[in-house]
Symmetry: C2
Subunit: 142 residues, 2 copies
């Protein structure tokens, strides 16, 4: 048990180093949280969930760390939600689907990411494809 946890921490720290992020304890914990919880948590969710095991953690630090990780390219901000940002440790191109009824956000990893041909002299750095609609759970006819 303990060994598994330590290995996870180590994996998190190594990945961070790879992105040029110094693996400080809070950063490692938050990054690992994002790797474990692939449901695009908000800053506040991360704060609340980690606060239990890290009582010294502050909201400011969560924001600082998330911004830092985004700048370094280790995590992605997902802007599918209206007034709050969500974060994703999966930086590969993939589509986000948000159910308009249950509000759940799905990763559509199996769906091929569309190729977009940009006009001359436009250079793309990141592409987000956000789909809103009805998910299988909610489309069941009662």
């Amino acid at each position: 048990m303990r060994d598994v946890k330590q290995m996870e921490q180590k994996e998190s720290a190594e990945k961070l180093s790879h992105f040029g992020v110094r693996p400080l304890s809070h950063r490692v914990a938050i990054y690992r949280y994002l790797m474990d919880n692939k449901n695009h948590p908000t800053a506040d969710t991360i704060y609340t969930d980690l606060k239990g095991s890290m009582p010294s953690l502050s909201r400011t630090t969560v924001y600082n760390v998330l911004n830092h990780l985004c700048e370094k390219g280790a995590v992605r901000k997902v802007s599918i939600e209206e007034h709050e940002s969500r974060y994703d440790a999966d930086i590969s191109d993939h589509i986000h689907f948000k159910c308009m009824l249950c509000k759940k956000v799905y990763d559509l990893v199996a769906v091929p990411f569309p190729e977009v041909k940009l006009p001359a002299n436009f250079t793309s750095v990141t592409t987000q494809v956000n789909i809103e609609g009805i998910c299988p759970d909610c489309s069941v006819i009662g």
Copy 2:
């Protein structure tokens, strides 16, 4: 001059009726503003720009009207900006490109909108494709 303006107002009002929106004066003005200003203004920009010619206008009304127009499907919320919503009277599928340097948001209307094949039982209602990168103006080598 006056005739042109009146025709524009009338066009705005007719389109609103078509969407099932009662063409009240503020709604007509805001909707026409969005048709004239296709640069995805924020609620605050709309408020500031219209306040001059409509001194009685309040921020609350701008928000009310925008939300109403979104619900009725007359305008679209563009969530390419981090912490504020932008609005677009062009409800046809098109790609938004935001320059990371000058922050301008372009409509890529000439670029074909990608087809996305959803997994079984996922139903799509709206799709947003947001690309961030460098625009032609900013990619000029000094």
